[in-house]
Amino acid sequence: MQTFIDILSSIFIIFGTFFFFVGVVGLIRMPDVFSRMHATTKCDTMGAGLIYFGLIIWQGMTFTTLNIVLILVFIWITNPTAAHYIAKSAYVLKLKNETLEESNL
C-alpha cells in the first residue's frame, strides 16, 4: 500500500513539473502577449494543481494538508482572475497607443 501511494504521488509530481515546463517553453517561444498568457496561465494552474495533489496524497490527512488545500483553492481562484486583468490591461493599452498614432498621423 505504501509503495502504491509513493508511485502515484511521484507520477502526479512528475506530470505537474512537465506542465510547468510546457508553460515556460510557451512563455519563451510565443510571439505575442496574449499567446504568452494563453500558454502560461493554463499550464501554471494545471501544474500547480497536479503537484499539490501529489503532495497531499504523499502526506496523508494532517493539518498541513488542510493548509495546502487552502493554497490550492486560492491559486485556482486568483490565477485566472489575474490573467484576465492583465489581458484587459494589455488590450486597453494597445488600443490607446493605436488611436494615439492615428491621431498623430
Binding site: 510547468f20 515546463f21 502577449v33 504568452r36 498541513t64 493554497i71 486583468y85 490591461s89
Partner: protein, 88 residues
Amino acid sequence: MVLTVIIVCTILLLLMTFVGLFRAYVGPTAADRMVAINMITTKVTTIIVMIALVTAQELYVSVALVYALIGFVTTIGVSRYLMKGKLD
C-alpha cells in the same frame, strides 16, 4: 523514492524560474513582464511548499500562502496602474 523525485523536481522548477526571469528582463512591453512575474510567483509558491514538506518544517506552508496573496495583489495593482495611469 518519493523524496528523490520531489528534490529533483524542485531543482528543475528552480531552473525554470530563472528562465522565466529572462522573459521578465527582455519583455518588449510591460504586460509581458507582468505575465512573467505572475508565473514566477506561482512557481515560487510551489517551491516553498515542496521544500517545507521535504525538510519537515510545516510552518513554511503558511509562508507560501502569504506569498501567493502578495503576488496576486501585486499583479492586480500594477495592471490597474498600467490601464488607468493612477491607483484609485
